[in-house]
């Protein structure tokens, strides 16, 4: 006979404000099988957990229902409490009367009745719960880091330095990411490349790190501790072992006028190229879309000049298969381009540029060698308007969020501009200045007070060209919303930070969730910010949301710590919420009839064929078997099995059936 304890939480007033908790407790007490029913202000607090624990011991409970918040919040808490009191943790269920009841309904009888319904449903379920034992799976102690920007670099180094193997995959020919494009960094104005490149070299030299640059993830299968990744190494068109990185091919390449991505389109590069001089690895690639040989079948000049005969025109992409135990997503971000801002003439007027282009212009290694020269005619711009929040915080543009880094880099840009053009006049149009961060506010003040950057609080409605000038029409909302016009020589848009174009496809490939803007979702916004909902996959850097360098680095180290913690165990304990195929005594052995429809439906290839043989070795029947290491517990096979020969622990036929009946049969719940 079941002996169930029901524990109803007030959650301060979060539940008790709309739900009559005493009534719920009284109603629960009447449910057959319930031997203990209490309510308490904070069930998750220490004394609350103590109540659960002592009731288990004193009343010899066989099951516990905690009616409180979402199981996604505190199920682990209470299951742990039960386990400590000697009750199998899987005999504890949460009845969600907060998120699904008290918070979403008005105070009243209907709300209290719904809470009772929910409790009754979970009591019916818990009566059918079975004690389960955790599953142990081995861990492959190699991490896969996707993305070689500063976050990926930091994560790789941290994991490698804790003694584990790392496979770092970067889609560009070189690691470095956006940080390698930056001129100087706020709030210290130290040179971005000067601080980054030593880290890049460290990656190249660390024996624990295998770097696949110019490579992309092809597929990822498996589960925490046991992933199988297939990596596509795109053809560089040269033998990396032979290439010394001398650069002769790049110099001699006749096709030189290709817009350089690294220079954000402001500079040019040849068809065989290294993105930038400090690239790691310092080996060129041939851009097959532009190379004369691939286009016309003639040239091969690079092949002729290469001193080590490293050029391989017929090289094909290569697929590398690796086994890894954890994955760090560090794929970074992009900024909004294209015709997203027609009102600003971006993409139409050459002198309306974005922040990354300004970075390249200001960079000593950039196309202008750090001089301020506007793209259209190379003149030094006398008046420059910086527009913050270009796209960000603009629901009409579909981007409600703050891109976070723009206030700071805009201040930096204005400052850098003044440092390079002493007589120039920088204006900044802004909505609010968000300079939260160590030395950030001081940095902005410096721009305004010391470098004479004129900040105008207001938005720009339109930019158009007139007589060689860019007419910037805006409003100064601090001076009575007065419309104003500035005749500028150049405009810099702090365009919104957005997810990479391939972010969604990649998320689908690795089975992690993402938000409506395609930034990757963390498992919990506060308490699990570097984990995803998929066990074993972690987040670092701006693929999760726009963030600046120190934040990216901090998160990368956090992710690395998570990976190191995972790798510190030889075996991983997994929740046993997995599918199981029925086994019976002979002569039936199993009710499974071996049609294997389940096998085709399993997303994880977790269903295997098992041959049942007699003592004489004679095959009796072939039935399905679930590999507990691979099964993720989705239960698709369970619903598909006609003979109900597969069941899923934790959401078993009996459990869900009992729930449906209990929910709908008010006041007569004993099934």
């Amino acid at each position: 006979m079941a002996r169930i304890g029901v524990f109803i939480c007030h959650c301060g007033e979060n539940i008790s404000a709309t739900v009559d908790v005493a009534k719920v407790a009284a109603a629960a007490a009447k449910i057959p099988g319930v031997v203990h029913s209490v309510d308490y202000k904070y069930m998750c607090s220490d004394p609350g957990q103590q109540m659960v624990s002592s009731a288990i011991k004193e009343k010899n409970l066989t099951g516990v229902v905690v009616a409180a918040c979402s199981p996604r919040m505190h199920e682990p808490t209470f299951r742990r409490a039960c386990a400590e009191a000697g009750l199998n943790p899987f005999l504890c269920e949460m009845a969600n009367i907060r998120e699904h009841c008290s918070w979403v309904h008005e105070k009243g009888e209907a709300t209290t009745n719904k809470a009772i319904d929910i409790v009754r449903t979970l009591v019916a379920k818990v009566k059918k719960n079975k004690a389960l034992l955790p599953i142990k799976v081995p861990v492959t102690k190699t991490a896969l880091v996707l993305g070689g920007g500063i976050a990926g670099i930091q994560a790789s180094l941290d994991i490698a330095n804790s003694g584990h193997k790392v496979i770092l995959v970067e889609k560009e020919p070189s690691i470095g990411g956006h940080m390698s494009q930056l001129s100087e960094t706020f709030p210290t104005l130290d040179c971005s490349q000067c601080i980054l490149t030593p880290r890049m070299v460290e990656v190249a030299q660390n024996p624990n790190i295998t770097l696949y640059s110019y490579a992309e993830l092809e597929s990822l299968e498996g589960f925490i501790g046991n992933f199988k990744a297939r990596i596509r190494k795109k053809a560089r068109s040269l033998d990396e072992k032979l290439c010394t990185g001398c650069g002769l091919c790049c110099q001699k390449c006749p096709t030189k006028k290709i817009a350089s991505d690294f220079d954000a389109g402001l500079g040019m590069r040849p068809a065989i190229y290294v993105p930038f001089p400090q690239a790691v690895p310092n080996k060129p690639v041939i851009d097959r879309e532009h190379c004369t040989y691939y286009l016309k079948g003639k040239c091969r000049l690079c092949e002729k000049v290469c001193p080590t005969q490293a050029i391989r025109f017929d090289q094909a992409d290569e697929i590398v298969e690796v086994e890894v135990g954890a994955v760090v997503m560090a794929t970074g971000f992009d900024i909004k381009h294209g015709d997203f801002f027609p009102e600003y003439g971006y993409g139409n007027y050459r002198d309306v540029i974005d922040g990354l282009q300004f970075e390249r212009m200001a960079s000593a290694s950039g196309p202008t060698l750090g001089e301020m020269r506007r793209p259209s005619d190379g003149k030094v711009p006398e008046i420059v308007v910086f527009i913050a929040c270009a796209g960000s915080r603009d629901p009409a543009k579909g981007i409600e969020y703050c891109s976070k880094i723009c206030c700071m880099y805009t201040a930096k840009h204005a400052m850098l501009y003044r440092h390079k053009v002493h007589h120039g006049k920088p204006y900044v149009f802004y909505m609010d200045i968000r300079a939260g961060g160590k030395m950030y506010e001081e940095f902005v003040r410096r721009a305004i007070e010391e470098d004479g950057v004129q900040y105008i609080r207001g938005r720009v409605s339109r930019i158009y060209e007139r007589g060689g000038k860019l007419i910037v029409k805006g409003a100064d909302t601090l001076l009575g919303a007065r419309p104003m016009e500035i005749e500028a020589d150049m405009v810099v848009l702090a365009t919104a930070g957005v997810a990479n174009p391939g972010a969604e496809a990649l998320a689908q490939k690795v089975h992690i969730s993402y938000d409506s803007h395609h930034f990757y979702s963390e498992a919990h916004p506060k308490l699990r910010p570097v984990e995803t909902n998929t066990a074993g996959i972690f987040l670092a850097g701006a693929c999760q949301a726009p963030k600046d360098i120190p934040e990216s680095v901090a998160q990368a180290s956090g992710a690395a710590a998570k990976v190191a913690a995972l790798f510190s165990q030889d075996e991983l304990i997994r929740e046993p919420l997995i599918a199981v195929v029925d086994r019976q005594a002979p002569p039936l052995y199993s009710t499974c009839v071996g049609c294997f429809l389940c096998q085709t439906s399993c997303p994880y290839q977790a269903i295997e064929k098992e041959e049942i043989r007699g003592r004489d070795g004679q095959l009796i029947k072939t039935v399905a078997k679930v590999n507990p290491g691979l099964c993720q517990g989705c239960g698709t096979c369970v619903a598909l099995c006609r003979s109900k020969s597969i069941d899923i622990q934790g959401f078993s036929h009996e459990q869900v059936y009992a729930e449906v009946l209990a929910l709908l049969n008010r006041g007569e719940s004993d099934v």
């Binding site: 009102e343 339109r462 158009y464 007139r466 007419i471």
Partner: protein, 303 residues
């Protein structure tokens, strides 16, 4: 696909030439545009400031009549009417609580509004007609400033047509008939129509800015798709010139008139003679009349 035609008040009055040119063009394009039977005022002028139900009921009645007549879409050439009909359709079909609202309004108009008929503006309708290029008799080879005004592309979330800033649909149409649409700054700037009666000094100033920029960039004509825009830029030209203290000779053509000319339709059939500002264009290949006009208001060194 049956397309109904909603004229509204202006197409029968101040913008007769818009209607004439549209019908002439439709004839050449082989399209029939039957009027919606028993149509009524869209309520654009005042209703939406006075009574929400009335403001929705008037357009809903029009759309219900179109549905009853078996029309799949309704062509609304007047931008103000287009706006009212589009907003109503949105409120009654897509917005929050639309079901209850739809029931109430259906009750008011004593007809069931289902929402089957789509509302299209003139640019959308023209863009949807294939083969326009093939019918060109004499390319309208002129530099034009496409003026969209405010209501055609806004509110973006409701009309869901073109880009609210820097729209392109009219520019594309002009390219199709051989014209050269200019990049200019006033495509969607305000002409002041809202102050048409109360503050026509404001109208004169705002409309003047529009003409000034168009002329400065070398436009030979301003192309519009809205009777209000046309009224302000054409009929109020004397006020504009008085206020700006200079002459603008640039004519203002409805998009249908420009297309009509390119299709070889006689100016009179397109109602060009009705304009306040003389239009010297003709469908003849000879484009001299416009060129002989001295460009007015041009800045030194820019012509």
């Amino acid at each position: 696909m049956k397309t109904g035609f909603y004229p509204g008040c202006s197409m029968k009055g101040s913008a007769r030439e818009y209607s004439e040119s549209l019908m002439a063009v439709a004839k050449v394009l082989g399209r029939e545009l039957p009027e919606i039977p028993d149509w009524n005022c869209c309520g654009a002028t005042a209703a939406h400031n006075l009574d929400r139900d009335l403001a929705l009921a008037l357009p809903a009645r029009i759309l219900a009549a179109a549905e009853k007549a078996g029309m799949d879409e309704v062509l609304v050439p007047c931008a103000a009417c287009y706006s009212r009909l589009s907003v109503t359709r949105h409120e009654l079909l897509d917005a929050k609580g639309s079901e209850a609202l739809r029931a109430r309004i259906s009750g008011l108009i004593e007809a069931e509004y289902r929402g089957s008929a789509k509302v299209v503006n003139i640019l959308e309708w023209l863009a949807g007609i294939g083969g326009l290029e093939g019918l060109i008799q004499a390319p309208f080879a002129r530099k034009v400033a496409c003026y969209y005004g405010c209501l055609l592309v806004r509110p973006a979330g409701i009309v869901k047509f073109d880009r609210p800033e820097e729209p392109q649909s009219m520019d594309r149409l002009m390219k199709k008939i051989g014209a050269e649409p200019l990049d200019w700054a006033f495509k969607t700037e305000c002409c002041g129509a809202g102050f048409s009666i109360s503050r026509n000094d404001l109208v004169a100033r705002l409309s003047g800015l529009i003409l000034d920029d168009a002329v400065a960039r070398g436009a030979e004509a301003v192309i519009v798709a809205c009777p209000m825009c046309h009224l302000n830029l054409d009929m109020r030209r004397p006020n504009i010139e008085k206020r700006a203290d200079k002459k603008f000779r640039i004519p203002v053509l409805y998009v249908t008139q420009a297309i009509g000319l390119a299709l070889g339709i006689a100016p009179k059939k397109l109602g060009l003679q009705r304009h306040k500002v003389t239009v010297r264009f003709s469908p003849a290949v000879d484009k001299s009349p416009a060129e002989t006009l001295p460009p007015s208001g041009t800045r030194p060194g820019e012509a």
